[in-house]
């Protein structure tokens, strides 16, 4: 792999051990993946934040680093709401460690914003073709597909290294030839809202890490694509997809139609809802916002909760910045007894383990909750989730 004179100097330790290790990581990964060089990135999003996931070893390593990130950088969701962790049922011993991890990242100049939706944040606007180093699988999918920016699914240490150096290896989805669709997915029925998450859940499992080109009968909004991509990245490992006549890269390039085709019928989507329908009325928690809610999604939830008082634990997850900009909407949601949680989510927080069965409208959450939180999950539309929460009024 070609390195510039300055990159060689960093590798030789002339700028200290932190940068030396960071560039060693980038170079080793670049070699593994056949990168010809390192390329500058516009921003970084770093995984490995929840104390539940990285533990004392991760905390120790991050604390050992010295330096400042070269590009705007944010974090993945943490294991708890950084302000209201007690209200979530998180023990103080966990909270102390979680805050130490956040501080260690903050010392490196990383913005303390813990979210899987960095594209909603100030200073993180992104355009077609721009190169970034993001880690969270749904964020990677959104950036690549809905915006047409370019990123691989970076690991925690590699995204952190990329942030410290300001570059990442020029391989994978940074290259034109790897962004071409490799399979067509024809969806035979009209779909809306949570159907997109169900679709992603099915398709991810079927295609693993191919690049699908969707032919849809419906017209997806960006939040629909957000659900689709998140689910496919969770049940499969799809990091990039195209939607005919919708997604920007597909509109700009003339992709050949892939030879391989799969067809999705209405029954398959229905089956995702039906698979756990036996839990209807028996869930003890409802959790929305996987990925984190946009302002529009918060408004929709607030409207549906109007006049209600929920009878079950009810979480709405979003980024702190979006919440801070939506004060009125948050108040309306919380008036119903629902909790708006920031910095975290139902998948990575140990607080989920306190329940038995979680109602979700997210294909990603539906996929991860049983394995990661050891509880059941039930798939439902947003309206059905609201119903599931009951009403004391």
């Amino acid at each position: 792999m070609y390195l510039t004179r300055e990159e060689e100097n960093i590798l030789n330790g002339e700028y200290g051990t932190t940068l030396q290790k960071a560039i060693e990581i980038l170079v080793a990964l670049g070699d593994i993946y056949g990168a010809d060089s390192l390329i500058p990135i516009k921003s970084a999003q770093i995984a490995g934040v929840s104390y539940k996931t990285i533990g004392d070893a991760g905390l120790e390593w991050i604390s050992s680093l010295k330096g400042t990130v070269k590009v705007p950088s944010v974090l993945n969701p943490a294991g708890m709401d950084l302000e209201d962790w007690a209200g979530m049922g998180i023990p103080e011993s966990f909270a102390i460690k979680q805050k130490e991890i956040i501080n260690a990242y903050s010392e490196l100049g990383i913005r303390v914003e813990c979210t899987c939706t960095p594209y909603y944040l100030q200073g993180f606007d992104l355009s077609l073709g721009e190169h970034i180093a993001w880690s969270e699988s749904s964020a990677v999918s959104y950036a690549n597909s809905v915006i047409g920016a370019r990123t691989n699914r970076e690991g925690g240490p590699s995204a952190l290294s990329a942030a410290l150096i300001g570059k990442t290896g020029n391989y994978g989805f940074h290259l034109d030839q790897n962004r071409v669709p490799t399979i067509s997915v024809n969806v035979e029925c009209d779909i809306s809202s949570s159907d997109y998450g169900a679709l992603g859940y099915i398709v991810g499992k079927m295609i693993s890490n191919k690049v699908p080109l969707f032919n849809l009968k419906s017209n997806p909004k960006k939040v629909d694509l957000k659900s689709l991509g998140a689910a496919m990245a969770a049940s499969g490992s799809v990091a990039l997809y195209h939607v005919k006549d919708v997604t920007p890269e597909q509109l700009h390039m003339n992709f050949d139609t892939p030879e391989e085709t799969i067809v999705i019928e209405e029954e398959q989507i229905r089956e995702v809802y039906e698979s756990k329908a036996s839990f209807k009325n028996n869930c003890d928690i409802v959790a929305l916002g996987c990925p984190h809610c946009s302002v529009e999604e918060l408004e929709e939830i607030a409207s549906l909760l109007e006049g209600k008082t929920v009878n079950k634990e009810f979480w709405v997850c979003t980024s702190r910045e979006v919440a801070n900009n939506s004060g009125d909407i948050i108040s309306r949601i919380e008036k119903s007894g629902a909790k708006v949680l920031c910095d975290t989510c139902m998948v990575v927080s140990p607080a989920s383990e306190n329940y038995r069965c979680m109602a979700v409208n997210s294909g990603k959450a539906f996929n991860y909750i049983p394995g990661m939180c050891k509880i059941e999950s039930m798939y439902a539309t947003l309206e059905e989730c609201i119903d599931e929460a009951g009403d004391r009024n």
Partner: protein, 141 residues
């Protein structure tokens, strides 16, 4: 009379440094998270071929890593606890083990230019040189 055999095998450098130790080899990929106890270096996964063995100070040979990216931090913890291998050899390194080896200063090479599983014998002493990209086997017949 026993004959001492020394073989040098060219590899690809992944993580710098040099380490030496007795060979411990497996054809089972290793997921460091869940398979290895970071406090002792013992293989605790009952489904793994090396169950019951200890990787501390060994030259650990395995095809590649797998599983959670947190596995990188398990390697770091092993090193901090003094229970890490002296060096590692992969057939084809992947990011979890590559990054783990680099942040922990454990020498790692991959792509040996021979079938390493056919050449290595239990009891061999091996040197892994991650800086230059080779390994050296000292065995006896």
């Amino acid at each position: 009379m026993r004959q001492v055999i020394e073989i040098r095998i060219e590899c690809r450098s992944i993580s710098k440094g040099e380490g030496k130790g007795p060979v411990l080899s497996t054809k089972d990929p290793i997921s460091f998270l869940g398979t290895v106890d970071p406090e002792t270096g013992n293989i605790i996964d009952p489904n793994h071929e090396l169950h019951g063995k200890c990787i501390k100070d060994s030259i650990l040979i395995f095809p590649y890593g797998k599983g959670s990216t947190v596995g990188s931090y398990v390697l770091y913890q092993l090193k901090k606890n003094g229970c890490a291998p002296s060096g590692m050899i992969n057939i084809d390194s992947e990011p979890i083990v590559a990054v783990g080896a680099i942040i922990s200063d454990i020498p790692l090479v991959d792509r040996p230019n021979v079938d390493i599983f056919k050449v290595i014998v239990e009891g061999d002493e091996v040197i892994v040189n991650g800086s230059e990209g080779y390994l050296e086997i000292t065995g006896s017949k």
